[in-house]
Amino acid sequence: MNFAVLQFPASNCDQDAIHALRGVFGHSARYVWHKEGSLGDADAVIVPGGFSYGDYLRCGAIARFSPVMRAVKQFADNGGLVLGVCNGFQVLTEAGLLPGALVRNRDLQFHCEHIFLKTATTDSPFTNKIPAGKILRIPIAHGEGCYFADEETLAKLKANNQILWQYCDNTGNLTDTANPNGSLLNIAGVCNERRNVAGLMPHPERASELALGSDDGRWIFESIFAVLKNKTVAQAA
């Protein structure tokens, strides 16, 4: 499988993503510079974390106008899988590919810690392999990860099962103290209505091998691999 990992000026989790995809999972992955207009033969796209364009104006606001984002939009419109992590999530919301917005953490602090995640639905290309009831322990590292959407959008997210991950305590309860940033409904990640574009603030690529303290993030990648594998089999048949 071929993955495209976008690189904006000041992306800083692009190498983590490439390492996980190539080194840990053994897939093919390449960097795609933000000025490129094509994603090549990518089967899926990762929009990595970082501080694209210095987070100037708003996180992700400038990156969304990069030439490569036109290709990402087209890729998503054609049903391709796109996963945004941290700043990548912010870029995808700014681009209108995902609903809502990410604002300053409620305590104004940058949070760099492991949190617990509950998977709200396994009905998505990004969660289908996560075992039922499994609580994921994955790191976060952000100052602007507080998920906001108006009431109408939140109702739609719930009705369509678009909330994929929520911050919880170690037993899976969605408590306020387990919510590191004040996100509405403890939302850590969502997908679009078509379910082929998703974003989350936690970093699954930094939790893909036990040497890093947790390999719970691999369930998210395994979910993507399973969908891509089925697609390849379907195309071959």
Partner: protein, 80 residues
């Protein structure tokens, strides 16, 4: 000609910066402050002879699409 754009967080969005500044003002003894909202101010210089109405239309478009995020922010555009 100059355009001034003031961007403020929408009332529905929690504004921890505003709340913190408000707390600090109270702490310093400034009485009667019932709300603080911290936003952004952008000043844009325009070439001499620019048609004001045309510039205003273009800047409203830019403010809506790029300079502010209508999901979380409101903006006010002033031409001078």
């Amino acid at each position: 000609m100059k355009a001034k754009i003031i961007i403020t967080p929408k009332k529905a969005v929690v504004d921890p910066q505003g709340k913190t500044v408000q707390g600090a003002l109270e702490h310093m003894g400034y009485k009667g402050v019932t709300g603080v909202h911290v936003g952004k101010y952008i000043e844009i210089d325009l070439a001499p002879g620019t048609d004001q109405a045309t510039a205003q239309r273009a800047l409203n478009d830019a403010a809506h699409k790029f300079l502010s995020n209508p999901i979380i922010e409101d903006y006010k555009l002033e031409m001078e």
